[in-house]
């Protein structure tokens, strides 16, 4: 049963005819060619379809489009522009917070929504005290981002990206230190006697 609705997608007015059965995700992907949100499971179990619906992060695969006539929808495509990425997007690039990229637009929309929730002081499952202001520790980021699955296993870098977006300076220092540790001289073949008790030598850094 078709109905005409209007969505405001990434700032653009988009009238569209939908079947009452059409989800917001399918309205975007199949009927409006807005393919930034992805379909990973179609049941709210993976988060790839996450968009900001009237400013809040939701899984668009479980939203009936017909119920959101007139709504504002922000996808990852609308967060940044060709000229300038959103800080969260830039951080995902800088920290290699993805591999195949399929979960990425959902991760990014989710991160943007999540940071706003934290800003408002909404607690999470791992918050030690429900009434304290939220500090986005690694543990908090991981818990709050757990609604976005990444099968490539980019979580470590996703968390780093969100840290960077939340506090760029702190993350820069942290990364410099980690990079230095990672680049501590590793065994070079010429130097390494093949024995377990070997002491490590080699060039300083790489």
């Amino acid at each position: 049963m078709d109905q005409n609705i209007t969505l405001y997608v990434d700032g653009n007015r988009r009238p569209v005819t939908v079947d009452t059965r059409t989800t917001l995700l399918d309205a975007l992907r199949d009927r409006l060619d807005v393919t930034s949100p992805k379909k990973g499971c179609d049941h709210g179990q993976c988060g790839a379809c996450t968009v900001l619906l009237n400013g809040r992060r939701v899984t668009s695969c479980l939203v009936l489009a017909v119920a959101y006539d007139g709504a504002d929808v922000t996808t990852a495509a609308g967060l940044g522009s060709d000229d300038e990425l959103h800080p969260v997007q830039q951080a995902f690039l800088d920290r290699d917070g993805f591999q195949c990229g399929y979960c990425t637009p959902g991760q990014i929309c989710s991160a943007v929504g999540m940071m706003e929730e934290a800003e408002r002081g909404s607690p999470s499952h791992v918050s030690a005290n429900l009434n304290d202001p939220v500090e986005l520790t690694d543990e908090e980021i991981r818990e709050r981002m757990s609604g976005n699955l990444c099968r490539c296993g980019a979580y470590v870098n996703i968390v780093a990206a969100i840290r960077q977006a939340a506090d760029p300076e702190a993350e820069q220092i942290r990364q410099a230190r980690a990079e230095r540790q990672r680049n501590e001289p590793v065994l070079r073949e010429d130097d390494a006697p093949t024995s377990y008790q070997v002491s490590v030598s080699g060039e300083e850094g790489r």
Partner: protein, 688 residues
């Protein structure tokens, strides 16, 4: 030995070339390719595991407005070749597993296609099926196409004489690849033949496989796949969904046909890792030297198509011992067809043996690293060939130092923090080197850029970026002067992105083309100058055993009250030859390790043998790790170049990260609790 390419761009953590588009969601995956006026396809799946279709009533489905066609075995176009039973879709009335495609609806909208598919009424004559995988299955058979059994020395006698023995059964469950992007195809027929926008790890292999199925010449099949949302082996070869879509597109009146599998459908038709039952026996003398290694593995395959998970492989080559026995047997069942999943064979095959190594280390009162030191082979135990490079011990040493292995208490169950028991574990990792035939084309443009063409695929590995770096160094220019094109059969032939062989294979082709280009046209070519060539074959693999190695270290916490297992820290140290891109390489290593944590803690596809069905077929019931499950996971690599591994000196990194990861976690849970769990996954109930 090839001459090794000097590196300028290679090694840098260059930002992903496809990254700016991907963070905005604008890089087109298969479903998102712009096509005119597509029709939507929804499959009908069998609800019996074995038998045949007596009747199939499509009238209700056909009556629905918007339905264009309903395909069944009665009316579907005939395929030219049905040798591969997995791909012989809608060609007969037999049913070989539950969930097999037995029909499909073509409709104007996805909603209508799905509704109509549910309205197809099928009558079956069911036969008694067998979907019960067990080690004592009465008809275990040898695989037809797999490495033959290994019998070296006399394991039984050696075990009787051994000072210490471990004899235990280890099991790994069926697991599903579950890439985030579902298997997706858009098919379009026109006068030139068949165009497939496909979510595939290998455009050229899809062409090679699909062309004969439809009686076409390879050049009549055009496959396009610029971006792939993960695959992990399940998109390595085309599955039935590709054939079904192409078949349906023969009834679409020339309109393109779209099919994206549902997550549930992916559990039956897109491949999975077979469960394994591993009988492992180790014997050692008082010094911890292995006198016997035996690995007798049982796996399952589908009666309609054989697939062998070579889980015996690692036991053949990991450790020195005079007496070795490795066998692999298959239970042929009425079940979905298993296939490749990240590090097939090696990944499950390193679970039992690497946990058994931990057990025998304890029996010998040796540190598990020291045990491995004492059993390091001089040459490949299976073939006798020298290793091109075998730096397992360096990986272990480096990892021990960085991870703080000296803080491990050899006695299990000693470290407690609050309500959590804490333990450390280690396991070895390995993956063979493989290079496959590929070609590349280099051409020069008036704008000063070099177009580099190769029909490779980037499923998240970073090929767009790594190949750009390789091409830049091969041509001696900076990366911004390279215009790489991949993901299309219109480009030169490239091998599948699988077996951790992509970069080495494709990179060698690009280097060969660049070499020839420079030889022919020099560094100041005329616009339009062009060379296409294949990488020369490499003889090193005939003379050397070529494998990557690694060491996986895990710290785990096991809750005293609830048995929940957490992995707060994990480190992998890898020896994989030269690393092309430090950023994307680390991502692949830690990605493999993260998937390994999933294998260790969560993943199991539950087969209900009464129905022949994987019953936990979605992301709510089949648990892959969530963000909260992955804490401090890091990877480092030995700074090296393998001079025998082609002109890049790189051995491949896509899969080794998962190998040994689950064993390291399992060994750590033993160290934490004193409870030895030999059956994956390590769910809380096993520690109560």
């Amino acid at each position: 030995m090839s001459e090794i390419l000097e590196s300028t761009e290679i090694g840098r953590p260059m930002v992903r070339q496809d990254g700016p588009a991907k963070v905005r969601g604008l890089a087109p995956y298969a479903y998102e390719q712009p096509v005119q006026d597509p029709l939507h396809l929804h499959p009908v799946q069998s609800t019996i595991a074995l038998g045949c279709i007596v009747s199939i009533d499509t009238s209700a489905a056909e009556a629905l407005p918007g339905v264009v066609a309903v395909l069944t075995h009665e009316n579907a176009p005939r395929l030219a070749n049905t040798d591969d039973a997995e791909l012989a879709v809608l060609q007969g009335h037999e049913v070989g597993f539950r969930g097999q495609f037995i029909g499909a609806v073509l409709a104007e909208s996805p909603e209508v296609a799905r509704q109509a598919a549910a309205a197809v009424v099928v009558d079956y004559e069911a036969e008694e099926h067998d979907a019960d995988f067990r080690a004592d299955h009465p008809q275990l058979t040898e695989p037809n196409a797999a490495t033959a059994d290994t019998f070296d020395g006399d394991v039984d006698t050696a075990l009787r004489a051994a000072a210490h023995t471990v004899e235990a059964t280890y099991t790994t469950p069926a697991e599903h690849n579950n890439p985030m992007e579902p298997h997706t195809t858009i098919a379009l027929w026109d006068e030139r033949g068949l165009t497939l926008y496909d979510s595939t790890q290998g455009p050229h292999p899809v062409r090679q496989t699909i062309a004969p199925v439809f009686g076409l010449q390879p050049d009549q099949v055009h496959v396009i796949a610029p971006h792939i949302g993960g695959g992990f082996g399940s998109k390595g070869l085309p599955h039935a969904n590709v054939v079904l879509t192409a078949l349906a597109a023969q009834r679409s009146g020339g309109r393109p046909v779209k099919l994206a599998l549902t997550r549930q459908q992916m559990f039956t038709v897109a491949g999975y890792r077979t469960p394994t039952i591993q009988q492992v026996r180790l014997g050692a003398d008082d010094d911890g030297r292995l006198s016997a290694v035996a690995m007798d593995a049982v796996e399952q395959t589908s009666k309609i198509k054989e697939f062998t998970e070579e889980s015996g492989q690692p036991a053949r080559m990991m450790y020195a011992t005079p007496n070795r026995q490795v066998t692999q047997r298959l239970a042929r069942l009425d079940i979905p067809v298993p296939s490749w999943m990240r590090a097939p064979g090696k990944c499950p095959g390193m679970f039992g043996p690497e946990v058994a190594m931990d057990e025998i280390a304890e029996a010998c009162a040796l540190d598990p690293i020291e045990l491995r030191v004492r059993n390091e082979p001089e040459s490949d135990p299976e073939t006798g060939k020298p290793y091109s490079s075998r730096r397992l011990l360096d990986c272990l040493a480096e990892g021990a130092k960085r991870f703080g292995w000296d803080r491990r208490n050899a006695r299990p169950g000693q470290r407690v923090q609050g309500r959590w028991r804490v333990g450390l574990g280690v396991a070895a990792s390995t993956y063979p080197f493989l290079r496959q035939f590929s070609e590349a084309k280099v051409s020069y443009s008036a704008d000063g850029t070099y177009a580099v063409h190769i029909g490779a695929a980037d499923l998240g590995t970073g090929a767009w970026t790594a190949l750009t770096q390789i091409a830049a160094d091969a041509l001696g220019v900076s990366a911004h002067r390279i215009r790489l094109e991949i993901g299309d059969t219109a480009l030169p032939v490239a091998s599948v992105a699988g077996g951790s062989s992509g970069t080495a294979s494709w990179g060698a082709a690009i280097i060969a083309a660049a070499d020839e280009f420079l030889a022919k046209f020099g560094v100041e070519p005329d616009p339009g100058a062009e060379v296409q060539t294949a990488a020369p074959r490499d003889s090193a693999q005939k003379e050397y055993a070529m494998h990557s190695f690694g060491a996986q270290f895990a710290e785990v916490c096991v809750n005293v009250d609830t048995g929940e297992v957490r992995v707060p820290r994990m480190l992998g140290v890898f020896s994989a030859g030269r690393i092309i891109n430090a950023g994307t390489a680390r991502s692949q290593f830690i990605g493999g390790m993260s998937m390994g944590i999933g294998m260790a803690l969560h993943e199991q596809s539950v087969m209900d043998a009464r129905f022949g069905s994987f019953v936990n077929h979605d992301f709510a019931e089949y648990h892959v790790p969530a963000n909260a499950d992955i804490a401090d996971v890091d990877a480092v690599w030995l700074d090296e170049v393998d001079p025998l591994a082609g002109p890049l000196g790189a051995r491949g990194i896509g899969e080794i990260g998962i190998v040994g990861a689950a064993a390291a976690v399992a060994n750590a849970t033993y160290n934490a609790t004193g409870i030895r769990v030999r059956d994956l996954p390590l769910t809380p109930d096993k520690f109560l």
